[in-house]
């Protein structure tokens, strides 16, 4: 069975890990899993997420608790604590354009060595990156991101681990489900196998290692 108790998570987490966490400004973030990591105080984590959410919501709580050594995100503007720690050099922040971040996570999950994107050409995003010219046009080579652990949220799961994400909670969740060694899904509801519409399942059960029943 993939269903585990949140208190058994320690078997899968340790200090210094690279973790991906789903969610966009906290929407679609597995809050119970995040809360558990805050409670247990894991530290020096490298966080890959769309943003650092708000101080009291989503992965923002990990920032406030000073558990993040490095954040790879597209936006930190809604969490002043991220900016403060970055300026004070208490935390490293790597800003990635959101579309490139999505593709980098996807690359990590789908076995590609990178993608060529026009996004960021002529900006500071080019710095330290390889620029490739194809047919006279310049592209930035964005390389894959892969994590030790992905923490994702899905509204509904079947007992086998197929996941359906409601509305705008999808965001990075289905991408991260492909791109980590271990994938743990916090799920809102669990239904019998065969109940979900097989055309609405964005994450097939073969990608999900464990599930925790969320609120």
């Amino acid at each position: 069975m993939k269903m585990i108790d949140v208190h058994t998570l320690d078997a899968h987490i340790k200090d210094g890990m690279t973790i991906m966490v789903g969610g966009f400004l906290g929407a679609g973030t597995p809050e119970m899993l995040v809360d558990y990591i805050v409670e247990k105080g894991y530290k020096d984590l490298t966080l890959i997420c769309n943003d650092t959410a708000f101080p009291d919501k989503g992965v923002g709580k990990l920032v406030v608790a000073k558990q993040i050594g490095k954040a790879i995100v597209s936006h930190i503007g809604t969490n002043p604590e991220t900016g403060r720690q970055m300026m004070a050099e208490e935390m490293e922040v790597e800003l990635v354009p959101q579309g490139s971040l999505a593709e980098k996570v996807r690359c990590g999950g789908v076995g590609l060595g990178g993608i060529l994107t026009p996004t960021g050409i002529g900006t500071e995003v080019e710095a330290d990156k390889t620029v490739v010219e194809v047919n006279g046009e310049k592209f930035i080579l964005e390389q894959p991101l892969h994590a030790d652990l992905a923490l994702i949220y899905a509204s509904t799961a079947d007992e086998k681990g197929n996941l359906v994400y409601e509305g705008s909670t999808k965001n990075f969740n289905p991408l991260m489900a492909m791109a980590a060694d271990t994938v743990i899904a916090e799920v809102g509801e669990v239904v019998p196998v065969g109940t979900l519409n097989p055309d609405s399942i964005l994450t097939p059960h073969i990608l999900v290692d464990y599930m925790v029943k969320g609120a």
Binding site: L101, A102, P118, T123, E124, S168, T169
Partner: protein, 215 residues
């Protein structure tokens, strides 16, 4: 109308029936209020859907349906939800007709700076770099000056969000089109004069032969 309402109202006139539009957070979001109800316009929300309607209140609130600012919103009956890779597939792939964004600085080459002030404020680019790269038409929506200091320049001083990407600049005082030799002043607000606009603009401006006014 106040200055921001004037800007939003004027930008709405750029939106054509059947178009797909992405509105940035803040002032650009206000544009939606001025699009006629009988016009078929599809709003794209970078966090993962098309068919954005309006901010949700009361019973309408569904925590699984939020906009790119994290606020609960309602959606049209034709709405479609997708993950972040698909959201930026639409953006980067040229499937968005218009993107409206704010600016810290914009220049006569069409360069845009809106994601950081080094050492001071680093919110991050979020989806902006992809939007200015991929959208068919990029409109900058902003107050003409920062408390009197020009934001429309010969050349941006801040790190760029995009290089040579802006098509139109619309402020409470003027409408500029980015052309080869500088900025073409196409319209001025009825309350101002060309002299006043030129004084508050730090770029090379060409006054259109067919200069019009807007309300």
């Amino acid at each position: 109308m106040n200055a921001k309402e004037i800007i939003a109202n004027r930008i709405a006139k750029e939106v054509e029936d059947g178009s797909v539009v992405n509105l940035g957070i803040g002032l650009p979001t206000m544009v939606a209020n001025y699009i006629p109800d009988d016009m078929d316009v599809t709003l794209h929300s970078e966090n993962g859907f098309i068919g954005l309607d309006k901010v949700a209140t009361g019973d309408e609130i569904n925590p699984n349906i939020t906009n790119a600012g994290g606020q609960p919103v309602t959606v049209k009956s034709s709405a479609v939800f997708f993950d972040s890779a698909m959201s930026f597939a639409l953006i980067r792939g040229g499937h968005i007709d218009i993107t409206v964004l704010g600016a810290l600085e914009v220049d006569q080459k069409g360069n845009l700076a809106n994601y950081m002030v080094p050492g001071k404020m680093v919110p991050g680019m979020g989806g902006a770099m992809d939007l200015v790269t991929g959208a068919k038409k990029v409109i900058v929506a902003m107050m003409h000056t920062a408390k009197g200091t020009p934001k429309i320049l010969k050349e941006c001083t801040l790190p760029l969000t995009g290089k040579q990407v802006v098509d139109l600049i619309i402020t409470e005082l003027a409408v500029f089109k980015v052309v080869a030799d500088g900025l073409l002043l196409q319209e001025i607000h009825e309350s101002t004069t060309v002299e006043n606009v030129l004084e508050l603009t730090g770029a090379d401006v060409i006054v259109s032969d067919t200069l019009a006014t807007f309300a």
